[in-house]
C-alpha cells in the first residue's frame, strides 16, 4: 500500500473530529506553540495535545522543538493528496450527473413527441 493510501485512511478519521478541524483552522496562519492554540480554542491543554498528536500521526501537522517550546504547523502534502483525490471523485460524479441530464432530456423529448395517428381507411 502506498503512503498516500495510508494518509488518506487516517485523514478521514482525523478530520472527522470538529475539534481537530478547529485546530487545523487555528494553524492556517502559520506555525504556533501549543499554548496559543489552547488559548484560541478555549480547550484544556491535555485535550489539544491529544488532538495534535492524532493530527501529527495522520500527517497533517508537524512539530518543531524550539528551546522549551513545541511549535506546530500544517503540512501541505496530505491536503494536496485529498484535493487530488476529491477532484477525481468529483469528476466522476459530475460526468454521471451530466449523463443524468442528457438521459432525462431524451426521455422528455420522447414523451413529448406527437403520437402518429394511423390514417383511417376510407370506406
Amino acid at each position: 500500500m502506498c503512503i498516500c493510501a495510508f494518509v488518506k485512511g487516517e485523514a478521514f478519521l482525523a478530520l472527522a473530529d470538529p475539534t481537530r478541524r478547529q485546530i487545523i483552522e487555528a494553524l492556517r496562519g502559520g506555525e504556533r506553540p501549543v499554548n496559543d492554540v489552547v488559548a484560541e480554542l478555549d480547550i484544556h491543554q491535555s485535550g489539544v495535545s491529544r488532538h495534535l498528536r492524532i493530527l501529527r500521526e495522520a500527517g497533517f501537522v508537524s512539530v518543531r522543538v524550539d528551546g522549551q517550546r513545541r511549535l506546530y504547523s500544517l503540512r501541505a502534502e496530505p491536503f494536496r493528496e485529498i484535493d487530488a483525490w476529491l477532484a477525481g471523485f468529483r469528476g466522476l460524479w459530475e460526468a454521471r450527473l451530466d449523463r443524468f441530464g442528457d438521459a432525462l432530456a431524451a426521455r422528455r423529448a420522447k414523451a413529448a413527441k406527437p403520437v402518429t395517428k394511423t390514417k383511417e381507411k376510407k370506406r
Binding site: E81, A84, L86, A95, L97, L104
Partner: protein, 164 residues
C-alpha cells in the same frame, strides 16, 4: 463481517433540470430510468432488482461496453462485469431517498457504510436535485488520483471500488 463503521466525507452536488420532481424521481427508482444514466462512460448497467421502499434492494451489474474501457479493465486484471448490491434506506417519494451499500473488502480498512442521499424539490418550472455522496476512502481511488490519473478516473465505475 465486523460491524460497519461510517467513514463519511460527503461530497455534495446540486443540479437543476427542466423537469418535474416526479421525473427526476423516476430516473433513480425505475429500471429504465436508472439504466439510462448510472453507468459511467463506456459502461452499461443492467438492473436486476430495484425496489424503492425502505429496505428494498437495488441490484445491478456494471458492464464494460466501450472498447477503451474493456481494454482498461483487462489491463488492470478486473472483471468486465461486476455485480453491485445496495439497499434503499430512506424513501420519501418524491422528495428524498438514500441508497446505502456496505464496503467491506478493502484490505486494512474496516467495513463502512457508503451512502448516497438525494433530495428533490420543485423550483418554478424546474426541479432541483441535491446529491450528497460519501467519498470512498479507498486505496484504488487514492493511488490513481495521487498519480495524476484523474481523467482516467472519470471512466471508472463505482464498481471498481465496490469490487468484492
Amino acid at each position: 463481517m465486523s460491524e460497519a463503521k461510517t467513514a463519511k466525507a460527503p461530497v455534495v452536488f446540486e443540479r437543476s433540470y427542466e423537469a418535474t420532481v416526479e421525473e427526476l424521481w423516476a430516473m433513480w427508482t425505475t429500471r429504465d430510468g436508472f439504466e439510462a444514466w448510472w453507468g459511467p462512460r463506456g459502461f452499461r448497467v443492467e438492473v436486476h432488482a430495484i425496489d424503492p421502499t425502505v429496505g428494498g434492494a437495488l441490484v445491478y451489474d456494471m458492464i464494460a461496453a466501450g472498447e477503451d474501457e474493456i481494454a482498461f479493465m483487462k489491463r488492470e486484471g478486473m472483471p468486465l462485469s461486476h455485480g453491485v448490491r445496495a439497499t434503499f434506506t430512506e424513501v420519501d417519494a418524491p422528495r428524498a431517498l438514500t441508497i446505502t451499500s456496505v464496503i467491506d473488502f478493502i484490505p486494512g480498512v474496516g467495513a463502512y457504510e457508503n451512502k448516497i442521499r438525494v433530495e428533490f424539490s420543485a423550483e418554478g418550472t424546474r426541479a432541483r436535485m441535491v446529491v450528497a455522496v460519501d467519498a470512498h476512502p479507498d486505496d484504488e481511488w487514492t493511488k490513481r488520483a495521487s498519480a495524476g490519473m484523474e481523467s482516467q478516473l472519470t471512466k471508472l465505475p463505482d464498481a471498481l471500488v465496490s469490487r468484492r
